[in-house]
């Protein structure tokens, strides 16, 4: 009886995961095979020229988003982590707030900015950089901006945590041994932050690789990515075999990225072994 107690407490939660997530996803995974046309479905998915374009675009958008948020997030996190206490909490709140605002609202904000009558075009016209409004919305640029906007707060918050975990005596020790500020950053702060940078990048990459609302609103049909393609197949063209194929491929690709990056993080962090 006593040995059963923990399992009785865990059972309801596990049941939810199994019935609402595991079973449905496995069901999705086997669907292409159950149809008996798995080979042709996967072939169409990976080698059809339209799909290949979508896959490449998705990877490209996610990679660029990750790099840009990493640059913006690390810069801001570095400054935030060194700010005096009161300012620091203010800056953290300012990063938390967008994070708690929904993806639809945040993507919508960029529709307002990038639209034909939006501020961006206004500015371009006033600066004389263009004589008539340019198409900004429904471009890959718009999708990347929207995703960077979505994920930078996450990056800032996770990197502030990473930087604050670095013992403040370490930069001092380095300086006392003769390292100028630049060397302190390169030889001490950066290497110690690297595992955290990778973890943050994994979060952002997987997040933007599978994001739906932002590409849907800012990319439209022209900038279809895997998530929006999955949605179209499932809800518009009702091609459920196709949708299941995309879904399975997305899971596999996500898992591969996570595993690779985790390995990299471990390689770069010899101190953890």
């Amino acid at each position: 009886m006593r040995r059963l107690t923990p399992w009785l407490l865990l059972a309801p939660g596990l049941l939810l995961v199994v019935v609402v997530l595991l079973a449905p996803v496995l069901n999705t995974g086997v669907m292409p095979f159950a149809s008996g046309r798995a080979a042709s479905l996967y072939q169409r998915f990976f080698f059809g020229s339209y799909n290949q374009g979508v896959i490449l675009r998705t990877l490209q958008v996610a990679s660029v988003t990750t790099l840009v948020s990493l640059a913006l997030g690390f810069t801001a996190a570095y400054v935030v982590s060194r700010a005096p206490a009161a300012l620091k909490s203010l800056l953290i709140v300012a990063a938390v707030f967008p994070l708690l605002t929904g993806t639809v609202v945040r993507s919508f904000a960029w529709m307002v900015i990038l639209g034909r009558n939006g501020m961006a075009n206004d500015a371009l016209l006033k600066l004389g950089l263009t004589s008539e409004p340019v198409q900004l919305l429904y471009t890959q640029f718009a999708v990347v901006v929207g995703l960077v906007y979505l994920f930078t707060p996450l990056m800032i918050l996770s990197l502030v945590g990473v930087l604050e975990n670095i013992d403040t005596d370490l930069p001092r020790a380095a300086a006392s041994l003769g390292a100028p500020p630049r060397a302190v950053f390169r030889q001490v702060v950066l290497p110690l932050a690297t595992p955290g940078l990778i973890v943050g990048s994994v979060l952002v990459f997987t997040g933007s690789f599978t994001a739906f609302a932002t590409p849907q609103l800012l990319g439209g049909e022209e900038q279809t990515v895997l998530a929006t393609l999955l949605y179209q197949k499932a809800m518009v063209t009702l091609d459920w075999n196709g949708a299941s194929t995309i879904a399975s491929a997305m899971v596999v690709m996500t898992v591969i990225v996570v595993l690779l990056m985790n390995r990299l993080a471990r390689r770069l962090n010899p101190a953890s072994v």
Binding site: A173, A174, S176, V188
Partner: protein, 356 residues
Amino acid sequence: MTQSLALDHVTAHYGTTRVLEDLSIRIAAGELVSLLGASGCGKTTTLRLVAGFMTPTEGTIRLGERDLTRLPAHRRDIGLVFQNYALFPHLSVADNVGFGLRQRGVAPDERGRRVAAMLERVGLAALADRYPAALSGGQKQRVALARALVIEPQLLMFDEPLSNLDAKLRVDMRVEIRELQRANGATAVYVTHDQEEAFSISDRVAIMDAGRIVQLDTPETLYQRPNSEFVARFVGFENMIPLAVTRREAGVAIAEGAEGTRLALPEAEFGRVPDRFVLGARPAGLAVTDADAPLGIPATLGLRTYLGRAYQYQCRTPGGALVADGPLDRPLETGQAARLVPLAQQCCILPDAGRR
């Protein structure tokens, strides 16, 4: 090349709180001086100022001919051993020790040689490729030491370097630190709150209180002739007995205190006795004698404890509670009346700091 260190009228603040006040100290080339004081008295702050992690609001810091006051930390050439070691967790033992040489542009092969020699000296040659996470406390301490020594700094500083080690290791390490510092010939500042540690390894000890140095002297002088009640208490003069001289005859001062207290102090033994003063006495400096003795402090004996070398008594006297040692061959009973007589060897004469 060893240099002397001089702090002149240094004042320092954290925000608006003043933590050091008009602190001056001169440490000769090759000398090891300890800063000794209770937690929070400003020892670490003093090191941080010298190391350049903080700038004084007033005063100057000089190392030999160089004015360090506004020099960035990385150009001061000081070897610093941190309380929590501050080893770089992402670097191996060898790379930790080689860090300072690398900053100085020492070529890799020479760097390797010097690091190896230093690791040999601190007994860590076998652990060169380990990472700090896989070291014991004592080993980390040695790495921190090697890292500070290998750059052959003009000044070595230690911030409570042994406080995280167990008692046995602490004694071994302090001997080792002293030997390494001697061999290196560097001027050294050593921070600790452990009196025995400070006295055992220092040429001189600066006793600090609330952001000030209250006495700077050799361990022997501090131990025998503290210049204030604060220092006296610090070095074990537990009893403070306020007295006034009523008569002087044939080199003996007769001093009286609280009701019935009457002492004869030969100036040949106690030194010059001012008219008003405080007698500091270690427990061993108050002998318990018979109640009918003509001179002494009248006392009633309280709790007796056995210390091995003596019995110790908590005594009630007209002037307040005192602690005194009694002879081993004759244990006395609680409640018994006695007289306490000062022994010059274990007593000191302190200025009367404005008592009523």
